[in-house]
């Protein structure tokens, strides 16, 4: 599975050069063609080559999803860890803000980001990061609480470690396991959420291929061209499995005990 994750990364990087056709070129004489012949994976409702769109969309899709996941991990993880140490009121207030953010639909966050930053991939990444950050904050808080109750924390304090050292050297590596696992789950969810946002025109140019948008476009014509829907969905599923395996391998690296 780790090999598969690497292959996926290679495809994402080399995709645009491997694509047999121009992913944007429409061939109105060959709409909704089934896979086979010249078009290995068929064509979509505008006669565009599905394989080419899949390959050239891989990079954007994975970049946006990875960016969103990393942003969520960074923002949420840091906020969750630090707020938990600040005392009852600061923690309550901080998590009130985080839970408010959690209550807003990603769509709304995306529209606000788009309005503030203009079109492009960065508001998309920002919206994904902000909508998934609360989950990371909660997981980090729970993990920190649990680890603080473990005996090695007073043992570290009694051996002279200050609060910062206890947090970074002792608690952080123990919190990393669940947070990394959550990241592995969040990455594919970002791919799907990206499709919803892209469908509404947030993100890159409207006809630029991403897996989520391919699926969203094809879903309306699933009866005429089921392959155009199945191909990006299968790609998302495989990418999800690869991410999960990668996340599991990472978690095992940071967590010798629960391997």
């Amino acid at each position: 599975m780790r090999f598969f994750a690497l292959a996926l990364l290679a495809l994402a990087l080399l995709g645009p050069w491997l694509a047999p056709f121009d992913p944007l070129e429409q061939d109105l004489s060959a709409l909704n063609r089934a896979p086979g012949g010249l078009h290995w994976l068929g064509t979509d409702h505008l006669g565009r080559d599905v394989l080419s769109r899949l390959l050239s969309g891989a990079g954007t899709t994975l970049a946006v999803a990875t960016g969103g996941t990393l942003l969520a991990l960074g923002l949420g993880g840091v906020a969750g860890l630090l707020l938990t140490g600040l005392g009852r009121w600061a923690e309550w207030l901080g998590f009130a803000v985080i839970d408010t953010l959690r209550g807003l639909p990603p769509l709304l966050l995306g529209l606000v980001a788009l309005a503030a930053m203009g079109p492009g991939l960065s508001p998309l990444v920002l919206a994904l990061g902000l909508s998934f950050a609360p989950l990371f904050a909660h997981v980090a808080r729970t993990a920190r609480r649990r680890e603080e109750a473990a005996d090695y924390v007073p043992a570290a304090i009694v051996s002279g470690a200050g609060p910062w050292r206890v947090l970074t050297r002792h608690i952080l590596p123990n919190v990393a396991g669940p947070v990394v696992t959550l990241a592995a789950i969040t990455l594919p969810r970002c791919v799907v959420t990206e499709s919803v946002l892209s469908f509404l025109g947030l993100g890159a140019a409207p006809d630029a291929p991403t897996w989520g948008r391919m699926a969203a476009d094809a879903a309306r014509l699933a009866e005429a061209a089921p392959h155009a829907l199945l191909v990006p969905v299968a790609a998302i599923a495989l990418a999800t499995a690869a991410c999960a395996a990668l996340g599991d391998a990472l978690r095992r690296r940071v967590d010798p005990l629960r391997a």
Binding site: Y152, P256, L257
Partner: protein, 314 residues
């Protein structure tokens, strides 16, 4: 000789419920003191409070002097230097007191680096020396092991090695052998005694096991319901206990020979900490109870080199 650590009127309450009700205790340099009593009597809380390790909800009053320096309400930097550097502490469950994600060599070396300011390589060398010193078999190889790969006794040796890293003047061992089986228990106690002699380190051994304390300590303080009820040299205490609670504890030890019989016990139970009797906390269970016992808690009074908090013993 001036005491190394001196506790005076140490009181701890959790949400208004008293857990410690005035502890006075001196620990001399190099001395081994045992602190015995049943679960919940405040043995561990005494030292957690002295080192500032209790959660914020706990209210701690009184005085903890380390060679004249007040530790209660001391700034964090002072406490961080004291912890591990002058007073080290080891806990009951060695397996969970070690961080599960770091190799033991790294953990010992970190303690060394923290207290002796050595660079990485030298700290690792010192860590290996300490692990050898605490009798870790094949220390060089075990440096790369994680805590879950070692046995309980080996983990406790690692904890002791970490505690020694700061060259402390006092080691507080909180039930260090309770989680270990009897043969390993004897080895660890022997190790603690050896290290104490070699380093001139004082030892406070917290235990509910009278045998462990008798073997390891020179002086014993018996605690009951948040107070010290009797304090004496080990031999004197075991030969002639003065406080009825101590008498009850010693009487409860099963005889090693003779016919089998029911185990002796002290009737009744420990009083509820939120509803302490007005007088002596042991009065409701005491076979020698008189009316004067219920007036006020008796003070810990000294007589011929030992002390007990009982009207009848003083």
């Amino acid at each position: 000789m001036a005491p190394l650590v001196s506790l005076r009127g140490l009181r701890v309450a959790f949400d208004g419920v008293p857990a410690l009700r005035g502890i006075d205790l001196d620990v001399m340099p190099g001395e081994a003191v045992g602190l015995v009593g049943e679960s919940g009597c405040g043995k561990s809380v005494t030292w957690l409070a002295a080192l500032g390790l209790l959660p914020r909800q706990a209210s701690v009053t009184g005085s903890v002097l380390l060679e004249g320096t007040e530790l209660l309400a001391a700034p964090a930097q002072v406490l961080e230097r004291v912890r591990g550097g002058r007073i080290a502490m080891i806990f009951q469950d060695p397996a969970s007191s070690l961080n599960p994600v770091h190799r033991i060599g790294t953990q010992v070396a970190e303690a060394v680096a923290l207290h002796q300011g050595l660079p990485r390589g030298a700290a690792r060398a010192e860590a290996k020396r300490l692990l050898d010193q605490v009798g870790m078999p094949d220390a060089a190889r075990r440096m790369d092991a994680y805590p879950h790969e070692l046995s309980g006794g080996q983990n406790q040796r690692v904890m002791i090695a970490m505690a020694l890293a700061g060259r402390p003047e006092l080691l507080v061992a909180d039930e260090p052998t309770t989680a270990l089986d009897v043969t390993i228990q004897a080895q660890i106690l022997e190790l603690l005694t050896e290290l104490r002699r070699a380093h001139g380190m004082a030892l406070v051994l917290i235990s509910h096991d009278l045998g462990v304390v008798a073997e390891t300590c020179e002086r014993v303080a018996v605690m009951y319901a948040g107070r010290i009820v009797e304090e004496a040299a080990v031999d004197a205490l075991f030969a002639i206990p003065r406080h009825p609670y101590t008498k009850g504890l010693l009487g409860a030890l099963p005889p090693i020979d003779g016919p089998r019989g029911p185990l002796a016990s002290i009737p009744g139970g420990v009083p509820d900490p939120s509803a302490m009797p007005p007088g002596c906390a042991f009065a409701p269970r005491c076979p020698a109870h008189v009316q004067a016992c219920d007036v006020a808690p008796p003070a810990l009074l000294e007589r011929d080199g030992r002390a007990s908090a009982c009207l009848l013993a003083a």
